[in-house]
Amino acid sequence: MKDFATKAKGAAIDIKGVSKHYGRFKALDDVDLQIQPGEFMSFLGPSGSGKTTTLNLIAGFTDLTRGEIRLDERSIGNTPAHKRNIGVVFQHYALFPHMTVAKNVAYPLQQRRVPKPAREAAVRETLAKVQLQDFAHRYPSELSGGQQQRVALARAMVFDPSVLLMDEPLGALDKKLREFLQLEIKRIHRELGSTFVYVTHDQEEALVLSDRIAVFNKGKIEQVGTGMELYTKPRTLFVGQFIGESSVLRGAHVEDGGAAVFTINGTPVRAARPAAGEGAHVILLRPETVSVHGAASDAPEGANRLTGTVTEALYLGSGVKYEVTIPGGTVISARMANAERLLTIGEEATVAWQPQDSILLADDGSAAQM
């Protein structure tokens, strides 16, 4: 066991009213976020939405325009980056090309004047954690992308930082390696107990890794929650569409009997609750709540029904996946357990779902298909 530091427990991060302006451009606009000690928090959002900016503010690479960031109750606004004791893993690895793997990993310990024996032991132990013990004497350029990223991870965690920031660390790697390293990162998070903040634009990655996800859009956080919360109870159309697969239905809507009713292609389509607030609303559907039937009479009792043409029918083994295009061009996707018969493309079909599965959201003008 390392003897130079007691095992770090994760720190709480409190981001309060933080803004970052570049000239007149607001890269971050009045963001609030509380991250729990030891939590795995992902920042998810499209490119340019302010994820890296937030990470850089926490790391101390940029100064904030307004607001405050606290690390375990301690405001860190005036603490320079090298005194924050926060580990950072960069998308571009940022390994020191003139140092071997072992020297790279020893670097943060050297800065902290850890004596040589303890340093060497810690380097060996950490390299073993990322399964690179046999590569200690290689130079970064002699490693594959995945190996380099593991060195970067080892270097960022060898000094037991209370917070580990990762900016799209797997972005440059192929899918298979990415999935493998996701599991590694999750395991390391469990072992270390530090607070992890992980930036990604890949919603699947965010779902696999995180305790909670903060969804960024245009310099603001739209919603913070567990993957399940974001998937089943998105608060905005942007979040609903960014996480998971979805179909969006638009149409004139009225309130009727304490619930919103939309008229789509002349057919009434119900939600289970009234629309909150003014303005246009839409219905968002998750594919697994939608069923597709060859005959309208097969649709379950009390369900919303729309008719259309099957434009995609895929047999997936574990189930079937359909896309049904209704008149007007809207595509509704559905995912069902195995049906008795696979509908064929071009066939007339009825899509059906229960009113409580209609996710009612204000129309914020997000693109209908992503």
Binding site: P80, H82, Y93, L95, F96, P97, H98, P108, Q111, P140
Partner: protein, 292 residues
Amino acid sequence: MSNSNTKPDGAARLGWAGVRRHPLLLVLPALVLLILIMAVPLITIIARSFIDPVPGLGNYSWFFSHKLNLIVLWRTFVISFWVTISCVLVAYPYAFAMSVAGPRLRLILVLCVLVPFWVSGVVRTLAWVIILQDTGVINQFVIWLGFDKLSLIRTQLGVTIGMTQVLLPFMVMPLFAVMRGIDLRLIEAAKSLGSHPVKAFFQVYLPLSLPGVFAGATIVFILALGFYITPLLLGGPSSTMLSTLVQQQVMSLLNWGRGGAMGVILLVATFGFLALASPFMRRKYDISGGSK
């Protein structure tokens, strides 16, 4: 088209496919030129140093038995050394600024290095004469301040200043080329790992820029060894460099043998220096660190 098919066989063989098959064809013109303007005179000089006026090692024993020659040879190396050091010191921050500047500022900085380069060395050296002479700009200022005038011209200091300015582009350009390839985000990484920015510079940036320093220093040092005009115009008897001695022997005394011997000695010394320096120029690592 039919006329393209009627190309004579020889032209077809020298066409693009021919060049691809025999890439040496591309270096042929340069090779001819080099042989004519380099190899032939060089061989002549080497030959004459051994046979002129009488066959034997007379010219070499003359060189090594006259103390003045050895002093000048040593001085040539010392001056070249200081010129190299001052070039590094001036060029390093300059090249760094160039590597981090925006495109417009970078263009201006590049021009500032290159424009003097397009002006002939004689003209630039004469400009330095005007600046450094006893009644020059610097001394007028020093006297106006109430101090004694400085001896700048006809000293090694003056020669060093002038040569530094003339040779600066040869230091700036290789440094800039290397620095442009250094990822500045490595400094951020070092900071996040607990390194003070100043330390991060010495531990990360400086080592990565050293190949540029060595490349530039080698070029500057070797060019400085053979400098003629600048030491002649800015220097005095106490700052004579070897090329001046060569010139005296050949042009004034018509002693081609001794001049040739000095040339050969300088050449051998230069190669010796290159051999000493080459281990420093090799790198075990790839500067990009493999990041894409």
